[in-house]
């Protein structure tokens, strides 16, 4: 009987000192914590605006590899409220590992087209981006399909980043959805045979290579075009290329998203809901899409002038969940074709 208070006292002491160490972790009620796959500087302006409007402070950690793992390990003690990601596969991974909770909100459902959100409301897209084809200007205006990457007339003329980059895996997954596994493997092998050099570098590097006459065709996300145009040094690279929206006469261009979801054990649920709804407001959509030169997911919000100047396009209407389903298979095919080697 006499022992218990002593144990309790010493435990109290231990925990008091522990909470002293961990004081930055203890949550004040007017905060919301974000785990972000997106760079901090892309989301900061938006969060500042949110804080201005609501007085809720936003804490952010940016990381890519292992974010889901960290969240899973933290379990119910995780401080995370909101997860911001790029690429559909990461949202699906979070969903499949049961790290998200559904949030049904009229504002979200009304404004986000159904192909860009989860059936069970566990995740929502915020912006979309196209996997474009960049082509050398001397080729003139071309009508390009992703299937043409395997056309032997482009032998030695194509540049791309690693086949195993998330953006390319998603594209291959969409090819599987359209053509099946066997045909996609053949396409990958021919595509590989057309490469001017081993897959390397990033999307901008491929445009630079076209500018230097190393190749004529490259794959790249839409927003990189805008980012290069606004970068003093890289602007000259874009002078050499046209940006093309592929498959306009059939299924449409492959589109990926950046999105959000609420963490399963979000400690600041109210604030998290407020932040999610804020991110889909017209103002936030405009600002968010503009900072990274993407397309707002809301159809009633126009992209920035620069992005709009690349023209309207038809997007592949394949639900993103289908693309995500073929992801692992896509990666296996890329290994099989030894695309990167």
């Amino acid at each position: 009987m006499r022992k218990t208070p002593f144990i309790k006292k010493s435990l109290l002491l231990i925990f008091a000192s522990l909470s002293f160490i961990s004081s930055p972790l203890v949550q004040a009620s007017d905060e919301v914590n974000v785990y972000s796959y997106r760079q901090a500087f892309l989301v900061k302006p938006l969060f500042n605006k949110f804080t201005e409007q609501t007085g809720v402070k936003v804490n952010v950690i940016f990381a890519k590899k292992g974010m889901a793992e960290r969240l899973a390990r933290e379990g119910k003690h995780s401080p995370a409220d909101i997860l911001l990601t790029t690429d559909i596969s990461r949202l699906i991974e979070l969903h499949d590992r049961d790290l998200l909770q559904a949030y049904r909100s009229k504002a979200l459902l009304d404004n986000i087209p159904s192909q860009y959100r989860a059936k069970d409301n566990s995740w929502y897209a915020l912006t979309t981006r196209v996997r474009n084809i960049y082509s050398a200007k001397h080729l003139g205006a071309i009508n390009f399909n992703y299937e043409d990457l395997a056309d032997s007339k482009y032998k030695g003329k194509i540049c791309t980043r690693s086949g195993k980059h998330a953006y390319n895996i998603a594209l291959v997954a969409s090819m599987i959805a359209e053509h099946g596994k066997a045909e996609t493997l053949v396409w990958l092998e021919k595509f590989k045979a057309n490469l001017a050099r081993k897959p390397q570098g990033n999307d901008r590097g491929q445009v630079q290579a076209i500018h230097q006459n190393l190749c004529d065709i490259s794959l790249g996300n839409s927003y990189y075009f805008g980012k290069m145009l606004t970068n003093e040094k890289q602007k000259v690279w874009t002078d050499a290329v046209y940006i093309n929206f592929p498959n306009q006469e059939n299924r449409g261009a492959h589109v990926n998203i950046s999105g959000m979801g609420m963490a399963k054990y979000a400690p600041n649920k109210k604030n998290a809901q407020a932040l999610m709804e804020f991110l889909i407001t017209k103002d936030a959509q405009k600002l968010y899409a503009e900072t990274n030169m993407e397309y707002p997911v809301r159809t009633d919000v126009m992209p920035s002038k620069l992005v709009a100047s690349w023209g309207n396009f038809k997007a592949d209407s394949l639900p993103l969940e289908t693309i995500a389903k073929h992801r692992k298979e896509a990666l296996k095919l890329i290994d099989k074709a030894k695309f990167d080697l």
Binding site: L11, L18, S22, I61, A63, R70, H77, Q212
Partner: protein
């Protein structure tokens, strides 16, 4: 990690084996062998020249050759691939001069290849070999070399037959550090578009979502290293050399003019390629793209970097000292175990290590919180896995091998007779250690501390994954900018990492000169 690799998928493994894994393994082995050979060549020769010849500007070269250590490998890789790429400035200028139009018009080496990667990695890793070899050469018993000379060996013979074999323990330690660092690397080889076993580890984990299989692959990687290190140790069983005549006069070979040209040219090329050239590129970028306002933003990350690295270096060095002394003075037959086990963290890729730590501390944190709730106390939160504790712990685990290697090769140089002398004079263990061993070991302790500190400043993947909210280090800042494909704006942070890493190198060098 080993535990976690149970339950790995044999299906995925066989898929990898049938497709890309054999290529990855060949690449990994080739890369390891090439980097170790090149680093040894760079490090041993430069160390020998500095210690045994009157090479031009020796006083500067002595510490300049250490500077590449302060350069993060991923940064140098980024700069070099950018520079020598087809679209890079060097080839552009050449095309401009000679009027070449396309790659068919001329030949230029392709930087994004395995040899390209090996050369660049060696350029930043060779200082390990240089540093340990130089210390070994300087502390060697010079009378042995003189005796060899009297028996008719030429200078060359006496170096290869005496000095080099005598320095073998130190060189072996440094070579295994270089090997481990190379095999654990992901970011650098990624820039070079070279696929290695770490590529497979990342693919299985992030691409296929099979952490268990990824852990199994990482364990294979560690096994390879384990066998190499053990084989090397076996090969030198029975060889031992201890010097009890330190600080004697070292004979200096006078070089002829032509020799002087080649020898100093060799050393300066290393300094230039491993440090000065990339550093100048960074400075040019910083001047072009940065302003003073950016500098103020770097204060907090700098303090964070320094703080974490300071803790990591101090803890790792203390532990290494304890382990080494235990191994030396204990008669327990398992005495070698702690230091050997502690050494393998270096071979684990930072991200994989971070995962393993989350797996360890996560449940502990949960247990503590549950306990707190049980006693109706305020739950402390994720104190272990969600604070800088985790980062420091990761750094200590990852860089323990460096501290251990440096200190134990220092201890090996102390003759065993010294262990017994104080005891026979009636001095206790504590007195012996503080009066005899620690003063002798002081240079090794400083070197160990410095190496861990510099490595921690540069470390990226573990810090990125384990950090708490709003906690940024310099390397994290650089990573964010590189991953958005605008390194230019990160040039200032990069320069800061390098400069902060230089401070202890220079300070250490000065304090060594004084003693």
């Amino acid at each position: 990690m080993l535990l976690a690799s149970f339950g790995s998928s044999s299906h995925l493994f066989s898929h990898l084996w049938q497709t890309v894994l054999p290529d990855y393994i060949i690449n990994t082995l080739l890369l390891g062998v090439l980097v170790v050979c090149l680093s040894l060549a760079f490090g041993i020769f430069s160390a020998a020249f500095i210690v045994h010849t009157n090479v031009f500007s020796k006083k500067f070269l002595r510490w300049l050759l250490l500077l590449p250590l302060a350069m993060p490998a991923y940064l140098v890789a980024y700069l070099y691939t950018d520079m020598f790429d087809y679209a890079g400035p060097i080839q552009r200028i050449l095309r401009g001069w000679f009027g070449w139009q396309s790659p068919e018009d001329y030949w230029f080496f392709d930087i994004r290849t395995l040899p390209g990667a090996a050369i660049v990695i060696s350029l930043v890793l060779f200082p390990y070999v240089y540093m340990l070899a130089r210390t070994a050469f300087e502390q060697q018993d010079q009378t042995l070399l003189r005796a060899g000379r009297l028996l008719g060996l030429t200078t060359k013979q006496s170096f290869f037959k005496l000095a080099l074999p005598l320095a073998r323990p130190a060189i072996a330690v440094s070579a295994s550090l270089v090997l481990m660092e190379t095999l654990a690397d992901f970011a650098t080889v990624n820039y070079f578009a070279v696929n290695t076993l770490t590529t497979a580890i990342y693919d299985t984990w992030l691409g296929y979502g099979e952490l268990a299989t990824a852990n199994a692959l990482a364990s294979i990687l560690m096994l390879i290293i384990f066998f190499v290190v053990v084989a090397e140790q076996r090969a030198r069983v029975g060889q031992s050399h201890q010097s009890n005549r330190p600080n004697q006069h070292i004979e200096i070979i006078k070089l002829s003019f032509i020799q002087q040209f080649f020898v100093s040219g060799f050393c300066w090329c290393l300094v230039l390629a491993g440090f000065l050239f990339p550093f100048i590129l960074l400075v040019i970028m910083a001047i072009e793209y940065s302003d003073l306002a950016q500098l103020t933003k770097l204060i907090t990350p700098s303090i964070n970097s320094l703080e974490v690295s300071f803790y990591a270096a101090t803890i790792a060095t203390t532990l290494a000292l304890l382990f080494s002394l235990y191994r030396r003075l204990s008669i327990n037959k398992w005495r070698i175990l702690p230091i050997t086990v502690a050494g393998f963290g270096y071979a684990v890729p930072g991200t994989v290590l971070a995962m393993a730590l989350l797996a360890t501390f996560g449940p502990l944190d949960h247990y503590m919180n549950d306990l707190a709730e049980h006693f109706q106390l305020n739950p402390p939160g994720l104190v272990l896995s969600g604070t800088i504790f985790a980062i420091v712990f990761a750094f200590v685990v990852r860089f323990a091998a460096i501290a251990n290697g440096t200190i134990s090769s220092g201890i090996e140089q102390i003759p065993h007779s010294i262990d017994h002398a104080p005891a026979s004079l009636g001095v206790g263990l504590g007195g012996m250690l503080s009066k005899v061993h620690l003063p002798i070991l002081k240079p090794s302790i400083l070197v160990a501390w410095l190496l861990v500190f510099v490595e921690s400043m540069k470390e990226l993947p573990a810090a990125l994954l384990l950090r708490p909210f709003n906690f940024e280090t310099l390397s994290i800042q650089i990573y964010q900018l590189i991953s958005d494909e605008i390194l230019e704006q990160g040039a200032l942070s990069a320069i800061l990492i390098v400069l902060l890493g230089l401070v202890p190198i220079i300070w250490l060098n000065r304090s060594k000169e004084l003693t």
